[in-house]
């Protein structure tokens, strides 16, 4: 096919006569052919390849139609609805239909198949242009992605786990199907769920339902799968865990590349500031209470509004591969600046371990908007920020490096008590790097001490982004993380320039981490 056209073009061009090209052609739809000739794609595509594409084309059209019905993306939504109706009818009246019309169904499928076959033959005869084929291919791949999108949230282990729980619980399911829900109803509901999965109404309904914790719990108990928001340690600890993984991977890399010098660096503990938000809602006549509405955030959350355990139940995660988390701070400390929202006089402490009841809250309206420091009648919700620093220590190198350190630490901690009111100084001694994500949703601050190579990371959420002041002001390093030899009087700026290359690397990696976290979060929300 391609060769013929390719051959016919130059001869006509050489003649340079404005003859109706249609006359010289033999058979076929001459308009379509003419369009083909002008196609730049055809001239650069080898003929055998365009042949195989042309042969595939009609099947692609059929596939495209089927996918658009399943994903509700067709121009006409009624086809999808019709499919559902047919499905419902066939499940509800299964016995009757099979008994009286079974043969007709078989014949009609055969007929449909032969219709499709003749359609395919026609389409190939029509000689589609390569542009058409590419267009259809794009459509098909997009719809296919859409169709499989629910699977992308799962991992292989999840399926195995699901299978395991289903097998274990199968006697229970069996009793349920035996007593209450006969299998055909099960099929009805299941099929309806699958068929309407991509319909706009189902999407909205799922979104709404997902906001209720009971629904999430139900899904968790039925499937045994954590689809977000159920596991208590899910939010914050998962994030930390990921970063630790990254960091340890980085360590490994550095050792591989540069040898011993950096090996020493990688033995240093990694500091991480855990952040919890305490959320409260005002109930009329009762006052501020930790009990929230069921669809909104939970009383304790991390920066990404994931559910988090309250401070008294907050346990550090367990790491494998010779790493151990250790608290640096003695207790959770309230961040009095609330992410730098409140300008404090320099004499006052930035954080405090034993605050009063109403300290450091930021007040919001009913929908967690319009933040302000003052309480007023239009404010119905409030939250404040608790921080506590922990560090990740390699147990393998624990013995040799910690003898020195533990003594250091004691001194540090003692000095911390004194230094506490002057925590600004500690800030100066450190190099604060602030990151803004491309999507401007979350910010993350990476504190890297030049002297210590400790890394403490903390995150702050969207709401506070605007209220935050200068980068040096809004420290959230805990008071315990004072470096042994603070460089006094030096602002963050100059030191930033002195940042080691490793620091820059880390910065990039954290950027990556950040983006991924955001994506994960979005997925869960969906």
């Amino acid at each position: 096919m391609g060769e013929q056209k390719g051959a016919s073009v130059p001869t006509q061009e050489v003649r340079a006569q404005f003859i109706e090209t249609n006359d010289t052609r033999l058979g076929g739809d001459s308009k379509l052919l003419f369009k083909d000739d002008s196609s730049p794609l055809l001239s650069c595509t080898p003929p055998n390849i365009s042949k195989s594409l042309v042969l595939l084309y009609p099947y692609l059209i059929v596939l495209n139609e089927a996918l658009s019905i399943l994903t509700w993306t067709g121009e006409n939504i009624w086809r999808s609805i019709l499919l559902i109706c047919v499905f419902l009818a066939s499940v509800l009246y299964f016995n009757t239909i099979v008994k009286y019309f079974g043969h007709i169904i078989i014949i009609s499928t055969l007929l449909g198949y032969s219709k499709m076959d003749s359609f395919v033959r026609n389409r190939i005869g029509n000689e589609p242009s390569l542009e058409d084929i590419i267009k259809v291919m794009d459509k098909v791949s997009i719809k296919f992605d859409l169709l499989l999108s629910p699977f992308y949230n799962f991992k292989e282990q999840d399926v195995l786990r699901l299978l395991f729980t289903m097998t274990v619980l199968s006697p229970l399911y069996f009793i349920i199907t035996w007593l209450f829900l006969p299998p055909w109803k099960f099929v009805l509901v299941g099929g309806l769920f699958v068929l309407t999965y991509h319909s706009p109404w189902a999407k909205v309904t799922r979104r709404l339902l997902w906001k209720f914790k009971t629904v999430r719990l139900l899904v968790f108990y039925v499937t045994g799968l954590d689809l977000g928001g159920i596991n208590k340690d899910e939010g914050i600890l998962a994030v930390v865990h990921k970063q630790v993984k990254r960091l340890s991977a980085i360590d490994g890399k550095i050792i591989d590349n540069n040898g011993n010098d950096l090996h020493a660096l990688s033995d240093k503990p990694i500091r991480f500031t855990y952040v919890l938000y305490e959320n409260q809602r005002r109930w009329l006549g009762i006052g501020w209470k930790a009990s929230m509405l069921s669809y909104e955030r939970t009383p304790w959350t991390d920066e990404f509004l994931n559910e988090a355990p309250p401070p008294e139940n907050f346990n550090l995660p367990e790491e494998n591969a010779g790493m151990v988390w250790k608290w640096v701070d003695k207790s959770w400390r309230l961040d009095l600046t609330n992410d730098g929202a409140i300008e404090l006089p320099s004499s006052k402490a930035k954080t405090t371990a034993d605050p009063r009841n109403d300290d450091a809250f930021i007040y919001y309206d009913n929908t967690w908007k319009k933040p302000s420091v003052e309480d007023s009648y239009s404010k119905y919700t409030r939250r404040r920020r608790w921080v506590r620093t922990a560090e990740l220590i390699k147990t393998a190198s624990f013995n040799d490096s910690n003898t020195l350190k533990s003594t250091d630490k004691k001194e540090e901690e003692e000095s911390n008590q004194e230094l506490e009111p002057l925590s600004e100084k500690t800030a100066i001694g450190q190099d604060h790097v602030e990151y803004k994500d491309q999507d401007q949703i979350f910010k993350r601050k990476l504190d890297k001490t030049t002297t210590d190579d400790d890394i403490s990371v903390s995150t702050s959420s969207e709401q506070n982004r605007e209220t935050m002041g200068h980068s040096t002001e809004k420290l959230n390093i805990s008071t315990g993380s004072t470096p042994p030899t603070p460089v006094e009087g030096v602002q963050g700026g100059p030191l930033q320039r002195q940042r080691s290359t490793q620091g820059e690397k880390l910065e990039n990696w954290f950027k990556d981490v950040n983006v991924e976290d955001v994506n994960d979060n979005d997925k869960k929300e969906l």
Binding site: P40, L41, C44, T45, P46, N48, I49, K51, S52, L53, L55, L56, Y59, L63, F94, N95, V98, K99, Y100, G102, H103, I104, I106, I107, L110, L111, Y113, S114, D117, L130, I134, M137, D138, V140, S141, I142, F144, L148, F151, Y152, F154, K155, E156, D158, V159, L160, L162, L163, M166, T167, S170, P171, Y173, F174, T177, W178, P182, P183, W184, F186
Partner: protein, 381 residues
């Protein structure tokens, strides 16, 4: 093109068609095409796997057997009637529940691993993609070749009505002795194993029996029209088919004996018709070519009417002496062409005999002419 395709399919060769210009593919293709092709790759993989499952193409047949068994068990559970309460039946139902779960999970698992593998593995080359596309089109072709539809040839309303009528009786008979559940299950088992090698081989063996062919082609037999007996019918059909050709006498290379007649009748234009009759033969196993044909298909001699449908007729030699209305043979005798070979369903293969060919035909052609004036003068009389 079609011939090579058919050869590939006939031997079920490996699906690695040769692309001679593979080396420089990436440079030669335009980027837009490359992008959309690479996006299509997962779709193609999934399609290919589906087709493999339907056609039983992988060597791991036990895998497909497992699938069939799981399907049976889960259907057994899903169409449960809850009539029997014995422990055994409950156990079977429970196993059915488990196998339903397993089936669904395996599909989900496949989709997930597919997407994961695509993310982690290195991207496919364009050659991979095109090989995949070719494999898929070939497999679809096989699917079509092997399906019952290609043999039944349901095309007209009449055939549909006949089929529905016949199957209704079968359905009624089946339903009076088989439960709905068993009916559905056995139907689905048949569907799922239809394309396996064993079933196909058995079908091919069965296909050798004439009785079965007659049953399958029952509809064709109903559709068969009356054979043409007289020359008059033959001429009228051929007249409709061919555009009426009036030729000047001077243009005709007419035999001298007829020239006299024409001159006698004082005409300068005559109507000439070319009669074409096909002689058909079928290859019989071990015996060679014979004029014996199946009762449902075309007879030993046939013609095509205007709609390209086949009509039986008598042997050409028997039409020799039925001349009427001034029609006279223009040629002295029937001119016989070479054999043309067809496959079992009378689809053209070529002019040479081969393994695929099961039928053949050759054309008998003879021109006939009608003297116009003669006709008119008769009318006048």
């Amino acid at each position: 093109m079609s011939q090579t395709d058919k050869k590939l399919n006939a031997f079920h060769a490996k699906f690695i068609p040769s692309h001679p210009e593979q080396t420089s593919l990436r440079k030669r293709l335009s980027p837009t095409m490359t992008i959309s092709l690479s996006k299509m790759y997962p779709v193609l993989l999934l399609l290919d796997n589906c087709l493999n499952n339907i056609l039983w193409l992988n060597n791991t047949h036990y895998h497909y057997f497992n699938n069939v068994i799981l399907l049976i068990l889960s259907l057994n559970f899903l169409i449960a009637d809850r009539t029997s309460q014995s422990l055994y039946s409950i156990l079977i139902l429970w196993v059915g529940l488990l196998s339903t779960e397993l089936l669904i999970m395996s599909i989900v698992y496949y989709c997930i691993t597919l997407s994961n593998d695509l993310e982690t593995d290195e991207p496919p080359t364009l050659e991979d993609i095109f090989n995949l596309i070719d494999a898929i089109t070939h497999k679809l072709h096989i699917l079509k070749e092997e399906s019952i539809v290609s043999k039944l040839q349901i095309d007209s309303k009449l055939s549909i009505i006949i089929i529905v009528g016949v199957t209704s009786i079968i359905q009624w008979a089946l339903m009076s002795c088989i439960a709905v559940k068993r009916y559905v299950i056995s139907y689905l088992i048949f569907c799922s194993i239809y394309h396996s090698d064993w079933v196909q081989a058995t079908l091919r063996l069965l296909w050798r029996s004439g009785y079965i062919r007659n049953v399958i082609h029952l509809v064709d037999r109903f559709k068969k029209k009356r054979p043409i007996k007289s020359l008059k019918d033959l001429i009228s059909i051929q007249e409709i088919k061919s555009n009426e050709s009036r030729l000047k006498v001077s243009d005709l290379e007419i035999m001298e004996s007829y020239m006299d007649i024409i001159h006698l009748e004082q005409t300068d234009s005559v109507k000439v018709l070319e009669l074409t009759i096909w002689e058909n033969q079928r290859k019989w196993n071990g015996k060679g070519w014979f004029t014996k044909l199946f009762s449902y298909e075309r007879g030993p001699f046939s013609i095509f009417d205007a709609g390209q449908t086949v009509l039986d007729c008598k042997a050409p030699l028997k039409f020799e002496d039925g001349l009427f209305d001034g029609w006279t043979w223009l040629d002295k005798k029937w001119e016989i062409n070479d054999w043309v070979y067809f496959d079992s369903c009378w689809n053209l293969v070529g002019s040479k005999d081969s393994l695929q060919c099961y039928t053949r035909s050759r054309k008998w052609v003879r021109r006939i002419l009608q003297l116009e004036s003669n006709n008119e003068s008769k009318k006048n009389v």
